[in-house]
C-alpha cells in the first residue's frame, strides 16, 4: 500500500513540475513548438509513471515460483531433490505433535493413516456415520498409474504429458510430474492392503482404457474401484484407530478453522448428533473435504458432499483457485423428474466398448422424443456416431469436456433421443456382438443393473440414454508444491485443492491424486512445516481465538434459526442449481455470467430472509446442516461466475461461447490467461482480489488440444 501511495505522489509531483516548466516556457518565449515539446515530455513522463504503478500493483498480485515452492532442477528430479532436502521430524518429536485431518475420503483416510503410522497423533473428522462412507466410495471406473504392465508404451512422462494436455495446459508441470511419479507406488500399496483389483487369467493385474489416453493404464476393481480403494485406506485407518494413534470423530462437521498468530491451530466442529459446538486443537490442520459440485444441486456427488470447509478457510485467508473449472461428465443418466435428488453416473469405462450416437435424421429424433421409436429401431446407416465422426483418432474416448460439449451440440440442434430432447445413446450392441453378452456382463454388469433399476429399461436390448451432468470440480483451495495453503500450517488435499488437473480432469485421475496426496506427498511435505513446530506446546482451546471462532459460529446458527421464513432449504438449493446450470454450465457467455451473478445475489437475499429451518440447533437437525452448507454454496456459485467472467477464453471445463474455433472447439488465449486465478477474500459482500500464479511451461510445449488425428 505504502508503495502505491509513493508512486501516486511521485506522478503528481512530476505532473506539477512539468506544468510549472510549461508555464515558465510560455511566459519567457511563447513559442508554440517549444510548448508542444514540453507537453510531449509531460505526457511521456506520466505514461511511464502509470506503467510503473500498474507493474507494482501487478507484482503484488502475483504468486512467484518461489512462493509456490516449486523445487529447482530438471522436471524428473524435482521431487527427489525436494525429498532429499526437506526437513524431517524425528520419531520422539512426532509423538508430541497433533494433526487434524478433516475428511475420510481417499485423500483424508490415506493421509490420516499414513501420518499415524509415522507416529503423529491424528484427529480425523467426517460427516457420515462411518469413515468408510466418504463420497470416494462411489467412484466406479478406475485409477491410473504409469506401470506400463501392458507394454503399450506408457511411462511416467506419458502419464504426465497426457494429464497436462488433458488439463488444457492450465496445471503446474512440477505437481503433475510428481503425481505421475508416485502413481505406481499407489498401486503397489493398494495391492499390499488386499485391494482385489481385476486380474487376467495369468494372475497379473488387468488394465482398461479411459478418455484422453491412447494406452491402457487404468486399474480397476469391477465397477467399484473407488469403493475398494477407500476400503483399503479405511482398513489402514481402522488399524491406526485400534492402535490409538487416530481418534475418529464421525458425524462431526467442521465449521471453521482457528488461526492463532497467523497459523492454523485447530477447528470448530459441530457434533451432528447432539448439535453441540466443540473445539479441537492441533499443530497443523489438513483439509480433505472433497469438491463443491453440489453447488449445482443436481450432480453426481453424494448428498452430503459440500464446499463449506473450503469456503470457510477461504474466508480466513486461504486463496480459492480456479473456481470456474467444473467438470461436466458426459455419461450420466438423464434428468427425469422434478422430484429428482441427484444424478447417477454411468462410468466412463463404458466408453471403452459403448458407442455414442444420435439419429442422422431429425424426423427419427422427433419420433424418439415422442416415444414412437426405440433406439434399436433405427438402422445402422441412419445413426450418427458423432464422436467417431468428429474425432477419428480418439473416437468415443475423447476427454470428458469434449464429449460433453459434443452431446450438447447435437441436442441443441434437435437430435436428442428422449422425451426432453436432452439425451444421446450409448450403445453396446456392437460390443455384445463382438465379445458376447457374458463378457460385456462381466465387465459392466453392475453398471447395467444400476441403469436398469433406475430407468426400468434393459441396456442389453436397447441402447442406454445418457446426458452430461456436473461431476467434479478441478478448482479448489490454492496450495503450493507442499500442499500448504496460503495460511501457514493449513494444508489441503484431494478434490478440495486445485492442484493437478488444470482446467479438465482426465478419468481415473482423481483417485490417483487423492491417494498420491494422502499416502505419498502430504506425509512428507507436512514434516517440512512441523519440524519447526516441535517446540510449540499443545495449546488450550480456551484461548480467545477459539472462543471467538466458536462465538461466530453460534451467532451464524442463531441467525439462520431465527429467519423462520417460508422456503425449505432444498427448494432454494434447486433454484441455485438451475441458475448455475443455465448460466455457469456447459456453455458460458459474458452476458450469461452477469445474469448468473444477478440471480445468485437474489437467491442469497431470498435465502437469508425466507429459509425455514424446523427444530432446534441443539439437536440432530438435518435441515440446519443443509442450510449451513447452502449458505456457502450460494457464495461459491457467485465466485464461480465471477471467475468465469474474468477468464475470457475457453479451456477444459470452462467453455466461453465467445471463444471457439469455427469448428466449435475450445479456443484458449495463452497470451492472456496462462495463469492460475487465485481469489483472495476481502470481507463479506466485497469484491475479492484476483491474484495470479503464472503458469510457465518449461518442459512441455503448449499446443492446441487435438483429438482428431
Amino acid at each position: 500500500m505504502a508503495k502505491k501511495e509513493q508512486i501516486a505522489a511521485t506522478i503528481k509531483s512530476v505532473k506539477e513540475k512539468v506544468e510549472a516548466v510549461k508555464d515558465k516556457v510560455d511566459q519567457i518565449t511563447g513559442d508554440p513548438a517549444t510548448i508542444e515539446a514540453v507537453d510531449a515530455v509531460k505526457n511521456a513522463t506520466v505514461k511511464i509513471a502509470k506503467a510503473v504503478k500498474a507493474a507494482v500493483e501487478n507484482k503484488d498480485n502475483v504468486i512467484t515460483l518461489a512462493e509456490a515452492k516449486i523445487p529447482e532442477g530438471p522436471l524428473a528430479e524435482k521431487w527427489t531433490n525436494y525429498k532429499a532436502h526437506q526437513k524431517l521430524v524425528n520419531p520422539a518429536n512426532k509423538r508430541r505433535l497433533d494433526v487434524i485431518v478433516v475428511g475420510t475420503g481417499l485423500a483424508g483416510a490415506s493421509a490420516a493413516a499414513s501420518l499415524a503410522e509415522m507416529g503423529f497423533n491424528v484427529l480425523d473428522f467426517c460427516i457420515q456415520d462411518s469413515p468408510r462412507r466418504a463420497h470416494s466410495i462411489a467412484a466406479q471406473g478406475g485409477i491410473n498409474a504409469a506401470k506400463n504392465y501392458q507394454n503399450d508404451g506408457d511411462s511416467v512422462y506419458r502419464l504426465f504429458y497426457d494429464t497436462i494436455k488433458g488439463g488444457d495446459y492450465r496445471a503446474r508441470e512440477a505437481n503433475v510430474y510428481r503425481l505421475a511419479e508416485v502413481s505406481n507406488n499407489i498401486i503397489d500399496q493398494c495391492v499390499a492392503q488386499g485391494v482385489p483389483f481385476a486380474r487376467e487369467y495369468g494372475g497379473l493385474l488387468d488394465n482398461r482404457s479411459f478418455g484422453g489416453a491412447q494406452v491402457s493404464r487404468t486399474f480397476y476393481a469391477k465397477g467399484q474401484t473407488g469403493q475398494q480403494l477407500l476400503l483399503g485406506a479405511y482398513s489402514a485407518l481402522s488399524r491406526q484407530i485400534a492402535n490409538g494413534k487416530v481418534k475418529m470423530y464421525s458425524r462431526y462437521e467442521m465449521l471453521d478453522v482457528v488461526i492463532i498468530e497467523g497459523r492454523a491451530r485447530g477447528i470448530i466442529a459441530r457434533n451432528l448428533v447432539t448439535g453441540k459446538i466443540e473445539r479441537f486443537f492441533a499443530h497443523a490442520v489438513v483439509i480433505g473435504t472433497g469438491g463443491y459440485g453440489n453447488t449445482f444441486f443436481l450432480s453426481t456427488n453424494a448428498m452430503a458432499s459440500n464446499g463449506s470447509a473450503a469456503w470457510q478457510i477461504y474466508k480466513k485467508g486461504a486463496y480459492f483457485a480456479n473456481p470456474c473449472y467444473a467438470q461436466i461428465h458426459p455419461t450420466c443418466i438423464p434428468v427425469h423428474g422434478a422430484f429428482q435428488s441427484k444424478l447417477t453416473l454411468m462410468s466412463e469405462s463404458l466408453r471403452n466398448d459403448g458407442r455414442i450416437w444420435v439419429p442422422k435424421k431429425l424426423e427419427d429424433a422427433k419420433a424418439l422424443q415422442a416415444g414412437k421409436l426405440k433406439g434399436r429401431d433405427i438402422p445402422e446407416e441412419d445413426r450418427d456416431y458423432y464422436l467417431e465422426r468428429r474425432y477419428p483418432a480418439f473416437g468415443n474416448l475423447v476427454p470428458r469436456d469434449v464429449a460433453s460439449r459434443a452431446a450438447k451440440e447435437r441436442c441443441d440442434a434437435g437430435y436428442g433421443v428422449n422425451a426432453t430432447g436432452l439425451a444421446v445413446f450409448l450403445d453396446f450392441s456392437d460390443a455384445i456382438q463382438r465379445l458376447g453378452k457374458d463378457v460385456v456382463a462381466s465387465k459392466y454388469g453392475n453398471l447395467f443393473q444400476m441403469y436398469e433399476k433406475i430407468v426400468d429399461e434393459n441396456p442389453y436390448e436397447n441402447p442406454m440414454m445418457i446426458f452430461p451432468a456436473i461431476h467434479y470440480t478441478m478448482g479448489g483451495i490454492w496450495v503450493d508444491y507442499e500442499l500448504q495453503t496460503s495460511i501457514k500450517g493449513l494444508f489441503c488435499i484431494g478434490e478440495a485443492n486445485f492442484s493437478d488437473h488444470g482446467a479438465n480432469r482426465l478419468g481415473a485421475s482423481a483417485l490417483m491424486q487423492g491417494l498420491a496426496d494422502g499416502y505419498f506427498v502430504l506425509p512428507y511435505t507436512i514434516q517440512n512445516y512441523l519440524s519447526d513446530q516441535i517446540q510449540v506446546p499443545r495449546m488450550s482451546t480456551d484461548l480467545p481465538e477459539f472462543e471467538e471462532a466458536e462465538k461466530a459460529i453460534e451467532l451464524k446458527i442463531e441467525k439462520l434459526m431465527a429467519i423462520q421464513g417460508h422456503r425449505s432449504v432444498d427448494s432454494i438449493h434447486r433454484e441455485l442449481g438451475l441458475a448455475m446450470w443455465d448460466f455457469v454450465g456447459m456453455g458460458r457467455t459474458a452476458e450469461g455470467l452477469k445474469e448468473a451473478l444477478k440471480k445468485i445475489r437474489e437467491i442469497k437475499k431470498l435465502f437469508w430472509s425466507e429459509v425455514f429451518i424446523p427444530g432446534t440447533a441443539d439437536d440432530l437437525n438435518v435441515e440446519l446442516e443443509k442450510a449451513i452448507r447452502l449458505a456457502d454454496f450460494i457464495e461459491i456459485g457467485e465466485l464461480m461466475a465471477l471467475d468465469g467472467l474474468d477468464r475470457e477464453e475457453s479451456c477444459g471445463g470452462h467453455f466461453r461461447e465467445e471463444f471457439q474455433t469455427p469448428e466449435g472447439e475450445a479456443l484458449r488465449q495463452d497470451d492472456k490467461f496462462s495463469y492460475v486465478s487465485c481469489w483472495k477474500f476481502n470481507g463479506e459482500d466485497k469484491e475479492p482480489t484476483l491474484i495470479k500464479e503464472p503458469l510457465n511451461y518449461e518442459f512441455v510445449k503448449r499446443q492446441t488440444r487435438n483429438y482428431k488425428a
Binding site: D129, S130, R133, A192, R199, I454, D619
Partner: protein, 251 residues
C-alpha cells in the same frame, strides 16, 4: 408416460436415543413411480416442512447403492421388498397404488436408534478395527505384480469385498448376528496372499469383537444373505468357520 400412485406411510418416529418412539401415519399423493424410495421420503419431508413440522430423519448419502449409509426396514424387509438393492435404489414402481408401507429403523441391540430412522452402526467399524486389515504401513511394499493371484480367487475376493457395511444382515437376523459382515471381510482377505498371512488371527479377533459388542450367535438361518443388497454369499460364513476352527486348533 409418467405414472403416479397414492400411498399411506406408517413411519417410526423417535425424538432421540432415549425417547419413546411410535408409528405416525402420513398420506402421500401423486408419487411418481420413477422416483426412488428416498426421493419419495424427500417429498414427504418437503410436505412436513411446509406444515412447519420436523422432517423425518433418515440416513443416506451416495444414493447409488454403494456407500452403505441408507438403511430402513420396509414392509418387514431391510432395504425393502426388491432384491439385490439398497433402499436408495428401490423405486416406487415396486409398490402398488393405495398401498400402506411400513418404515422402521434397523432393529438390533448393537445398532441403537439415534433419531427416527437413523441408527448408530459404529459397532461395525469396531469389528473392522479389531482385525479387518492387512498389517502393512504406507511405503516399502513389493511391486503390485510380484505375486500373481489366480483370477478366480481374485474375483471371489472381490465378491466378498463388495459388502457395503450397511448392517442389513444383522437387522435381518433373528439373533442379531453380524456373521455375514464379518465373514465377508475375513474371506476377502483370506483369499488373497497378502491377507492370508494373518488370516486366522484376524478371524479370531473379529469374531471375539462381534461377540463383545452384543451381536447374537449365527444359527445358519440364511436370512442375512437373502436380504443382503450386495448378494454377499453364505459360503463366506463357511470359510469364516474354517478359519475360526483353524484358529482354535492353533491355540
Amino acid at each position: 408416460m409418467e405414472k403416479t400412485i397414492n400411498i399411506t406411510l406408517k413411519v417410526w418416529r423417535q425424538a432421540g436415543p432415549k425417547a419413546k418412539g411410535g408409528f405416525q401415519t402420513y398420506k402421500l399423493e401423486n408419487i411418481s413411480t420413477d422416483s426412488s424410495f428416498l426421493e419419495m421420503l424427500d417429498v414427504l419431508n418437503e410436505q412436513l416442512i411446509g406444515e412447519r413440522k420436523e422432517p423425518i430423519a433418515f440416513d443416506h448419502d451416495c444414493r447409488e447403492g454403494i456407500c452403505g449409509m441408507c438403511s430402513l426396514y420396509i414392509n418387514g424387509h431391510p432395504h425393502g421388498p426388491d432384491t439385490s438393492v439398497t433402499t436408495c435404489q428401490l423405486h416406487m414402481r415396486k409398490f402398488k397404488d393405495g398401498e400402506t408401507i411400513t418404515v422402521e429403523p434397523w432393529r438390533s441391540a448393537a445398532f441403537p436408534v439415534i433419531k427416527d430412522l437413523m441408527v448408530d452402526r459404529r459397532a461395525y467399524d469396531k469389528i473392522i478395527q479389531a482385525g479387518g486389515f492387512v498389517s502393512v504401513n504406507t511405503g516399502g511394499v513389493p511391486d503390485a505384480n510380484a505375486i500373481p493371484i489366480p483370477k478366480a480367487k481374485a474375483d471371489e475376493a472381490m465378491d466378498a469385498a463388495s459388502c457395503i457395511g450397511c448392517g442389513a444382515c444383522a437387522a435381518a437376523c433373528k439373533n442379531g448376528s453380524a456373521m455375514l459382515f464379518v465373514a465377508a471381510k475375513v474371506s476377502q482377505l483370506a483369499l488373497l496372499p497378502q491377507g492370508r498371512v494373518e488370516a486366522t488371527r484376524r478371524a479370531k479377533a473379529m469374531v471375539a469383537k462381534m461377540d463383545e459388542l452384543g451381536f447374537g450367535n449365527c444359527t445358519n438361518t440364511g436370512a442375512c444373505a437373502a436380504e443382503c443388497p450386495k448378494n454377499v454369499s453364505l459360503s463366506n460364513i463357511a470359510r469364516l468357520n474354517r478359519e475360526f476352527i483353524c484358529a482354535k486348533f492353533q491355540d
